[in-house]
Symmetry: C2
């Protein structure tokens, strides 16, 4: 068992792990290098489901400057019946205007054509530099080439084709309760300075009656609970595809656990990250307040650098919470209401908690620290 | 003319600068070392107005974890008739509970006693490490000693007594239109990791009929328009005192200019800062949206590191704006709507602008960049 390695993720009972290259039954994937990445690494991937009866759900960034592939998914795809996904890394195709939309559509249509499925059954996802026109001919050619190398063991190839500055692939294939789940994710790196993007693709032969609400719930407990630098990407995309061919339902908690572990890997692999933290806010007046306080603490550069410096500095937690509660009456916080010891510990995953004493709502957020390497990655590179 | 050195600050007409040690007529100040700073530098200051008829205004942080001196000012002082200010640096007396309130009151009462004025005519301000009980005996003794060295030329001594990791004193004395204005500020440093705090004190012999609204307006255009790390302090305090002895009104724009230049010095001297930026947001749907977008851009670590790296990365500006507009309909931004060239320039003060095309509201924010030195200051020190 090597996938579930975080203290914050409960391992579902009876899980058996497999080689993550092996996709869930009915899925095939492939990847090639089309030229977007100067390094020669794979940069175009294609993933498809052989079964027509696949049901799916797709969640997309809410950033108002959403990238072209996000807009294409939102406006031009049948998100409940996604058969295939075409991806590239190296160019986010974001802030590229009408031409960007045409390019993302061309990528989608090329995948649909080569796979012989309807255009609207293909989702597109891209990550990399922004504001640069997509080398569409190369990408379209790449999609066609990727179609020639589709394989049931193509999971890892597909996962590597979405990597940017990720330290390694974030992936899993597991069996539990008679169903198989495979998943690939990337984040929070970049091939060129742009901004962190997270992409995640999940395939299963489980029967999922309402994939949209299942995915929303699992994402709310995983990718929506993490922050690296507080910056919402223009390209975030999560795709869930379920064939139902196993005839079994997904055991409870499995999708949540898979997505949570992947999300925690994104935090651990955040740009320059050395340590991860989990801030638990209790005793908030309401849910919105709990969220606000948790995110203010998780995104505070002073709390992040305290985590880096192993400085059990509870005052920075009190200050960030007080900022989130600005203008409200609040009893002076003190060390008694803040559990901050692990901030100063050597543990790679530090637990921090604050009791606000204002009510009964609570929230938690996972976050990465802020290091010299983050500055180096983001300041010392010039486009 | 050395004070007004920012391109963003208009110099009021007819201004003459003096030695900033010399306070406005009717004010005296002094400072001593009481032991809070290990370096032996001055850490307690006292500033007083000899005239009974002084009118004043005091603005305080809205942080819900406000420090004891802030609570004492708010709850126990007559903010419209402040004669004197007692300050210390080295201990913020924040998150120190009921004992902190007693300590801040003791400091205030000692100043009132030695000056022979009512307790409620003395404001207190503190800055430094938080969560550590104040060495009250030492501070009270310091206040009494400072009273013995009060001088009309004590402005610089007072200003140095509020410095923490400031690179130098932020101060001015000027004459314009028959009135004299002196001011001292500090920020955004710290004596020990805690968080940045800004303090500012302004003295004048001008006649100011409504000092509270005058100060609010000037602060709204200066200290409320800056960000170093997006962290609202527990201790921010601005005090304006006006004797009216010149018999003249403050010429229009002078208070604004003095506070803006001081605020810009805080940005330029922000922890680790190498460059400052000014983001101008135009075409927002309403004022709240303009503010939200401007602050999202100014506080984005990706925009800040782009400023550090002289990377004219307009995509990071589009992404941050899109995050602030999350969930809204927005036409794809492009380089045509973003004026970002100076982001890549060598200029110490870079102008950046974005046209949202959504309406007619606008806002601007001044911000510092994010450098290795910020990480070093905040991560490599352990309390």
């Amino acid at each position: 068992m090597t996938f579930f390695n975080s203290r914050w993720c409960d391992v579902p009972e009876g899980v058996e792990e497999f080689n993550p290259a092996t996709l869930a039954p009915g899925f095939r994937a492939g990847a090639v290098h089309c030229g977007l990445k100067g390094s020669g690494e794979t940069d175009v991937g294609l993933l498809t489901c052989d079964s027509e009866g696949v049901s799916s759900a797709v969640l997309l960034t809410r950033n108002a400057a959403a990238a072209a592939p996000v807009r294409v998914c939102r406006d031009h795809c049948d998100l409940g019946s996604i058969r295939a996904v075409a991806v590239n890394s190296g160019n986010a195709n974001a802030a590229t205007g009408e031409q960007g939309i045409r390019d993302a559509l061309a990528m989608r249509d090329a995948a649909a054509e080569v796979l012989g499925i309807p255009d609207e059954a293909v989702a597109v996802a891209e990550t990399g530099v922004i504001g640069v026109p997509l080398a569409t001919e190369a990408v379209v050619a790449g999609v066609k080439s990727a179609a020639k190398v589709l394989s049931a063991d193509g999971g890892e190839d597909f996962c590597r084709a979405i990597m940017t500055t990720d330290q390694g692939p974030k992936q899993v294939t597991l069996e539990v309760g008679g169903v198989t789940v495979s998943a690939q994710a990337k984040g929070a790196g970049m091939i060129e300075p742009g901004f962190a993007t997270m992409l995640c693709f999940v395939q299963t032969d489980a029967q999922i009656d309402d994939p949209d609400s299942e995915l929303r719930r699992a994402v709310a407990r995983s990718f929506e609970r993490i922050t690296v630098d507080g910056q919402m990407s223009t390209n975030d995309t999560v795709v869930l595809q379920a064939t139902g061919s196993s005839g079994r339902a997904m055991p409870e908690g499995v999708l949540d656990a898979v997505l949570l572990q992947l999300a925690l890997e994104v935090v651990a692999d955040g740009e320059g990250a050395e340590r991860a933290g989990r801030i638990q806010v209790n005793g908030a007046a309401d849910q919105g307040e709990a969220e606000r306080v948790a995110r203010a603490i998780a995104n505070s550069p002073l709390v992040k650098t305290a985590l880096t410096g192993r400085d059990a500095n509870w005052g920075r937690i009190a200050q960030a919470a007080g900022m989130a509660l600005a203008g409200e009456e609040w009893n002076e916080p003190g060390p008694h209401s803040i559990d901050f010891a692990e901030l100063g510990d050597a543990t790679a995953e530090a637990e921090i908690a604050i009791a606000l004493g204002r009510g009964y709502a609570s929230a938690h957020v996972f976050f990465s620290d802020l290091t010299h390497e983050y500055i180096r990655i983001n300041a010392e590179y010039t486009t």
